[in-house]
């Protein structure tokens, strides 16, 4: 069978694979509840795709990315309830705020290397969560606040789309994830993406070939913050509720675990990581109770056995196995 030429582009192949999985997954859903799980998976995967750009391409670790997720979530909740803004506008405002903050804070923070950077981003995340917890008159304090729910049922009926709101959310978040994945994949094969991957391997060599390393890292940080913010905004609209835990340290750790589990350098790996770590607690009650223990365990096992992550690790093992079989 001849492969059509547009499929020769690896970007297109990943995207088609994702689209097919998103479209076919509902066939396996035992109940409507799983559309909800699917939406959670896609929104987490969106955040993780942003982190793939930051951690996988550029090699910079952020332990505070839930902070940007929280900014997006609260932008929707606060913007609509206190200022009466349209939810769509709030999503954009949150993205702008998160991106702007990342650019402003990124300059000094991203000058730090490895664990210093990790600790600084950790501080940033905690700071954002603290503000959300303490500014009670705006944010509802530690208990959180309600966010607007979109009048999906009415819209769907008006447009004559035969979907339930849960199915509509599933489709919407799936499409947003596809768009996010497309952008991350495009970036990877572009001049800017090569600059990020170059500075990942050697900052000094990257500078010598003319890459403005500080600027490139700042951009990657801001882009990943926008991803997290958009995902947070959609999560707020989806749940109709926000609380400071969305911006909390544990959520940041969850996100990093998803990236590491799937394989930091690969967009598909990020989606796999997000899927596994979202679905397990939703389906296995045992997992839910011991979630943090499990996360820790997964991290340790991954670091020992599959440091590159599940997807690149397995692809590597498969290539090696085929290579061995090819020359007996």
């Amino acid at each position: 069978m001849r492969v059509p030429s547009w499929l020769a582009d690896p970007r297109a192949r990943v995207l088609v694979l994702l689209a097919v999985l998103i479209a076919l997954a509902p066939l396996l859903f035992p109940s409507g509840y799983y559309y909800r799980v699917g939406t959670l998976v896609f929104l987490n995967a969106l955040t993780v795709t942003g982190l793939v750009i930051l951690t996988g391409y550029a090699g910079q670790v952020s332990l505070g990315h839930a902070g940007f997720f929280g900014i997006g979530a609260y932008a929707c909740a606060v913007g609509t309830s206190h200022f009466g803004l349209a939810p769509g506008l709030c999503v954009a405002l949150g993205a702008g705020l998160a991106g702007g903050l990342a650019l402003a804070v990124g300059r000094p923070i991203l000058r730090l290397k490895s664990h210093y950077l990790a600790v600084a981003t950790l501080g940033l995340g905690i700071l954002i969560a603290m503000v959300l917890t303490n500014e009670g008159q705006w944010t509802g304090g530690p208990d959180g606040m309600s966010a607007p729910t979109l009048p999906l049922r009415a819209w769907l009926r008006a447009w004559g789309v035969p979907l339930s709101p849960a199915q509509a959310w599933y489709a919407l978040s799936g499409l947003v994830l596809l768009a996010g994945a497309w952008m991350a994949l495009s970036l990877r094969e572009s001049a800017s993406g090569r600059a990020l991957r170059a500075l990942h391997d050697s900052e000094v060599a990257a500078r010598v070939i003319g890459i403005d390393v500080a600027r490139a890292k700042g951009r990657a940080f801001a882009i990943s913050a926008v991803y997290a913010s958009v995902a947070g905004s959609l999560m707020a609209l989806f749940n109709g509720f926000v609380n400071p835990a969305m911006a909390g340290f544990m959520h940041s750790i969850e996100l990093v675990t998803m990236v590491v589990l799937g394989g930091a350098g690969s967009v598909l790996g990020g989606v796999v990581g997000a899927t596994v770590l979202t679905v397990l607690p939703q389906t296995l009650t045992v997992f839910q109770e011991y979630e943090m223990t499990m996360l820790g365990l997964i991290m340790m096992v991954m670091m020992i056995f599959l440091r590159q992550g599940v997807v690149p690790g397995l692809v590597g093992a498969w290539t090696a196995w085929r290579g061995r079989r090819a020359r007996p």
Binding site: R11, S186, L187, A198, H200
Partner: protein, 265 residues
């Protein structure tokens, strides 16, 4: 006006004077070598010229423009490129991507266009790929293009690093021990490549321990010892200079020096 004009360059780390008052010039198409025993300050001098270290005093001029203390990325835009003694290849990228990354300065596409995968961004990447492929052909590395750089032998990596530096189309190229760890064949290849580059008008500043290579290629040699320039001149002058021989072989090694100098020629 010289391509590179270094004047009275010094740097000290705390109380240690690593390089003291070094001056020299490199013209376009000229090969100038810096030699000296280990720890003489050759790489430190390179790091100052390429903007990785800020000199304590002195002045570096590129094409007459004072560039002392500018960061490496600014120097790259002004036509200075370099390789590293301990390889700094982008190990997780393919050979082709390494050279494509080297083309960064010539690439015109914005972040937004790159993120959205707009046609302009794709066209740019295609153009860059063609340019990088041509360069790999020239360096005889084309057959490794799709391999990850980490799969290459040491000698090939050395050449790849030169290729990446060339992709930036430098007017001045700093080569830090390009032949170190290479076998005789690889050394000959690198030798020929350096001559070819100089013939194309690129000024070359070379740090190298392979004396045969240095003596054969250089128009001008600079000898450093403990951070101080102890001699300079044409290869034949340097080969006979008693201070140079003393620095390399110790003051009691004069007898050996005859043999040493002979083997250099």
């Amino acid at each position: 006006m010289s391509l590179l004009d270094v004047e009275g360059l010094s740097i000290h780390f705390g109380g240690l004077a690593a390089v003291t008052d070094v001056s020299f010039k490199v013209e376009a198409g000229e090969i100038v070598s810096i030699i000296g025993p280990n720890g003489a300050g050759k790489t430190t001098l390179f790091n100052m010229i390429s903007g990785l270290y800020r000199p304590s005093s002195g002045c570096v001029r590129l094409n007459g423009e004072k560039v002392t203390g500018l960061p490496p990325e600014a120097l790259a835009r002004r036509g200075l490129s370099r390789t590293f003694q301990n390889l700094q290849v982008f190990q997780q990228m393919t050979v082709l991507e390494n050279v494509m990354a080297g083309c960064h300065l010539g690439e015109k596409s914005g972040w937004l266009s790159d993120l959205l995968g707009l046609p302009a961004s794709r066209r740019q990447t295609r153009a860059t790929r063609d340019r990088a492929m041509a360069l790999l052909d020239r360096l005889d590395l084309a057959r490794w293009a799709t391999r990850p750089a980490s799969a290459l032998s040491y000698g090939l990596l050395k050449r790849l690093e030169i290729g990446r530096a060339l992709a930036a189309e430098p007017r001045l190229l700093l080569l830090d021990e390009p032949a170190a760890g290479c076998n005789a064949v690889e050394t000959n290849d690198i030798d020929a490549l350096i001559v070819e580059l100089a013939a194309a008008g690129i000024g070359i500043l070379l740090v190298e321990h392979d004396m045969k290579l240095v003596m054969r290629l250089s128009k001008h040699i600079l000898v450093l010892d403990r951070g101080v320039k102890i001699a300079e001149g044409a290869p034949e002058v340097i080969g006979r200079d008693p201070t140079v021989i003393a620095a390399y072989l110790g003051r009691h090694g004069q007898d050996e020096s005859e043999k040493g100098a002979a083997s250099c020629r």
